[in-house]
């Protein structure tokens, strides 16, 4: 939990760090210079040995005063981009988790409580969605939607905006949550207190709101850290394949992609966001376990 708070706090402080460095992490800086130990050097260093092939960005200075983790292919400060990228990664993951949970809860409630034809139809739709491997579905959706503007009536998602990965990741995990939610609703639907409420002639919306939803919360809350972790990894994968966050915006996935072409000479560019993802996802998984233990009565007995 502490680790997560720390990561979130650091990413929130991104503008402060960039402001302190006086750099714009979204602008190319191919001709930039930086002062290291009193010496002014080019950020993009032209090879002067041998045939003089290749231009390599400056490596990690390990100095918080600038280019702590080196520069990427555009001469931008990787440390600053890592923080901004973390913001995007965390924002996309959180927003996608909220969308996924809301949709899954609605679908699970409708299917589980109403039963019959509604359950049949919703369950089959979920089955179809589930039949696609997650990444295949995400990649297909991204490629189709990436260059077009989506009009959802209430709001529109323009091509290249952050809302697009949010929307895609939010959708693809719905079946994974809606199914257990539906199963839980089915159990609750036939529990004594709900039968009693029905017997008392209480209106459906009241039963859903007062009897079922509160009892559903543990199931849903357990999903939060798991989904967050999944969403972070999915977002990184999509961005790595350049079908998630679009340049010059950063996310941990895009920074890994930037770093891939520098793996031999500047491994820090790809390693730093990789480590950030590992730490965050690991922390989320540990948190997820803890939450499950806390909320699952049977788990405690065991």
């Amino acid at each position: 939990m502490l680790v997560l708070l720390l990561v979130a706090l650091l990413t929130l402080l991104a503008p402060l760090y960039a402001g302190y460095l006086g750099v714009d992490p979204f602008r190319s800086n191919l001709r930039g210079k930086v002062e290291i130990a009193g010496e002014v050097v080019q950020v993009m260093q032209q090879s002067t040995e041998g045939l003089g092939l290749g231009v390599t960005p400056i490596g990690p200075t390990w100095n918080p005063g600038g280019y702590m983790l080196g520069a990427d292919n555009q001469g931008r400060d990787v440390a600053a981009r890592l923080l901004y990228g973390g913001r995007n990664s965390l924002f996309i993951a959180s927003a996608a988790t909220v969308i996924c949970l809301v949709l899954a809860t609605l679908i699970g409630l409708a299917a589980g409580f109403l039963g019959g034809v509604v359950d049949m139809a919703l369950s089959r739709i979920l089955d179809v969605l589930w039949a696609f491997p997650v990444y295949l579905l995400a990649i297909s959706l991204s490629i189709v939607l990436l260059t077009s503007t989506i009009d959802l009536g209430l709001f529109t998602i323009t091509a290249g905006s952050l809302a697009l990965p949010v929307f895609i990741i939010g959708i693809i995990y719905v079946p994974y949550v809606a199914r257990p939610v539906r199963a839980r609703v089915l159990t609750l639907r036939h529990s004594e207190f709900v039968l009693a409420a029905v017997g008392l002639g209480l209106p459906t919306h009241r039963i859903l709101r007062r009897d079922i939803l509160p009892n559903l919360m543990p199931t849903i809350i357990v999903f939060v850290p798991i989904l967050l972790a999944l969403a972070i990894v999915t977002e990184s994968a999509l961005s790595y394949l350049s079908i998630g966050v679009q340049p010059p915006d950063a996310s941990w996935g895009t920074i890994i992609q930037d770093g891939q072409t520098l793996l031999y000479s500047r491994p820090a560019v790809a390693l730093a966001p990789g480590i950030a993802i590992v730490i965050t996802v690991l922390a989320l998984n540990v948190l997820g376990d803890a939450v499950r233990d806390a909320l699952d009565p049977r788990g405690q007995v065991r």
């Binding site: 090879s47 092939l53 350049s242 679009q246 010059p248 031999y264």
Partner: protein
């Protein structure tokens, strides 16, 4: 042609750094043959290049092989440097007799030539091969060979293609006559490329895929598995008839292995497990091979350019001042850095690449306009944008997802932001980007693309990329990506092409003027001319780089 699927026949000017290149100076060809004949050349690439049908494949990867396996009536001279732009007789005994009106070409076939299966090469094979270009719907049938009489009917109904009136054979005199609908100064170039290879008449009228077709050159294909390797061995029926057109090869066999990433290819060549890598070394490894393997690296200029097509029919680029402003604002040196530094690329402001017919050093969009680009002129650029009143508009740059292309796009986004636009970059799969940016329905405002010559003629850049005839709204095949059509300049280009039939030098002077006239309207922003890096093994000798064929594989030796 574009480098989109790496298809290209390329032209370079001079081998800059051919450290190990040994050209015939002291030794005669016979002495070299005696000393170095034999052995196996091992090539590596990330992936196979598709079909090995020379009339269908349009990739640089296999054109390089077709040049020493197949022959046409004429071919580009196999020499190092700019001389390779010249056309020499190949299966034909001599250059054709051309009628006074420029419409009829008569070729006399050499006697005693054989295919690698032992059958004779006859005039009927030549006729059948030209018909086959249409019957298999070759990729250039409608662009290179549509000027032959009867071609229109063949394009409409490929299966029944006869080219009636367009091509005829006379077995008695061993001649083939080709008739055109209009004089075409570039016709000999068009039949010198592998798509006009002569194949046995009985070759199936469909894509040969992985099945080798008998060859006429010094090597033939023995086996092909696109997931593993392509094996070429000596053609037992080959007898050298012209060193200029089709010299005998040194190695006994050439094996092309597939499936290694570019990173792994570099390591394989460094360790001597392979003699040459097809893919360009990753930018990350350039500094390393430039120092540790300097004597194994050959850098050659390509006649190609990277450029930014502006959509002249969409805001804000429908205003010439905006297009000029971006041209002024681009720091071409910074882009050269992205490509690997000044040794690997050269900033350009003209459409025709340096050392290409019709090229004249000229740069309007730089500080101190003159012959060369020196530095961006932000003041002028900002003034032009202010004048146009377009600042603040949304601009999307569409690039493909290769790392260099994305870096170029990201840099351009910064430039547009500096000019006051609300710019973003959209990187889409390399498999679709080239067709996506061509289609006007996609409303692409600005993109990044590349163009490599098919053959050395100015029209191959100016007329193909910016001529009215290349603009097809709503089509994926509209290579005039800018949608630029200036009828006055178009008429001048038609005149220049006709002038080339009688006075090529005067025509090239006119092409240089057309280039400048186009750049005054700035439908595109030329960025830089790339150079090609060949990394070869320590044991490989006699590396020759020709403008048209790139590395002349058959002329290298490994022992």
């Amino acid at each position: 042609m574009t480098n989109w699927t790496r298809y290209a026949a390329l032209t370079g000017a001079a081998a800059l750094l051919s450290a190990t290149a040994v050209t015939a100076g002291a030794e005669t060809r016979e002495e070299m043959m005696a000393a170095h004949r034999g052995g196996e050349i091992r090539l590596v690439a990330a992936a196979a290049g598709g079909t090995i049908d020379p009339q269908i494949n349009y990739t640089l990867q296999y054109w390089q092989l077709f040049y020493f396996t197949y022959d046409g009536l004429v071919t580009f001279k196999r020499v190092e440097g700019a001389g390779a732009g010249g056309v020499v007789p190949d299966l034909a005994e001599a250059m054709p007799e051309v009628s006074a009106d420029g419409l009829t070409y008569t070729f006399k076939l050499r006697q005693g030539l054989k295919f690698s299966d032992g059958s004779d090469v006859g005039v009927d094979d030549v006729v059948a091969s030209f018909q086959r270009v249409f019957k298999v719907s070759g990729p250039t049938a409608g662009t290179f060979y549509n000027g032959i009489v009867g071609a229109e009917a063949c394009i409409a109904a490929p299966a029944d293609c006869t080219l009636d009136g367009g091509i005829s054979a006379d077995a008695a005199s061993n001649t083939v006559t080709i008739t055109l609908t209009a004089p075409d100064p570039e016709f000999l170039y068009k039949i010198a490329v592998p798509h006009a290879s002569v194949l046995p008449a009985e070759t199936l009228q469909e894509d040969a895929g992985v099945t080798p077709i008998p060859t006429t050159g010094p090597y033939m294909f023995e086996s092909y598995n696109p997931n593993e390797s392509l094996v070429m061995v000596r053609n037992p029926h080959f007898k050298e008839w012209s060193v200029d057109a089709q010299p005998d090869g040194f190695a006994d066999s050439i094996v092309f292995d597939f499936g290694l990433s570019a990173e792994a290819q570099v390591t394989a060549v460094q360790n001597g497990q392979a003699d040459w890598m097809f893919d360009q070394p990753p930018t990350d490894r350039l500094a390393e091979i430039g120092t540790q393997n300097a004597d194994q690296v050959h850098v050659n200029t390509l006649t190609a350019f990277w450029y930014v097509p502006f959509n002249v029919n969409l805001a804000p680029f429908d205003d010439v001042r905006v297009r000029q402003a971006v041209n002024y604002a681009i720091d071409r040196d910074a882009l050269v850095g992205i490509f690997g530094g000044p040794v690997l690329a050269q900033p350009v402001c003209t459409i025709l690449p340096p050392a290409f017919p019709g090229h004249e050093d000229h740069c309007a969009y730089t500080q101190n306009p003159g012959t060369d680009w020196t530095a961006p002129d932000m003041d002028k650029a900002l003034a032009l944008v202010a004048e146009s009143g377009t600042a603040g508009q949304k601009v999307t740059i569409v690039v493909d997802d290769t790392s260099v292309m994305r870096d170029v796009g990201t840099y351009l986004q910064s430039v547009l932001t500096d000019l006051g636009y609300d710019a973003s970059v959209n990187s889409i799969s390399g498999n679709i980007q080239f067709t996506y940016i061509q289609n006007t329905n996609n409303k692409v405002q600005m993109s990044v693309s590349q163009w490599y010559q098919d053959y050395p003629a100015a029209s191959n850049f100016l007329n193909v990329l910016l001529g009215c005839a290349s603009f097809h709204p709503g089509s994926d095949s509209s290579v005039n990506i800018s949608g630029y059509c200036n009828e006055e300049i178009d008429a001048r280009m038609q005149a220049a092409m006709q002038l080339a039939t009688t006075d090529p030098d005067a025509a090239n002077l006119e092409w240089a003027k057309i280039d400048q006239a186009m750049m005054a309207e700035a439908p595109i922003a030329p960025l830089f001319t790339p150079k090609h890096v060949d990394l070869v093994s320590k044991r490989l000798g006699n590396f020759l780089f020709s403008p048209q064929h790139q590395w002349l594989m058959s002329q290298a030796w490994v022992q």
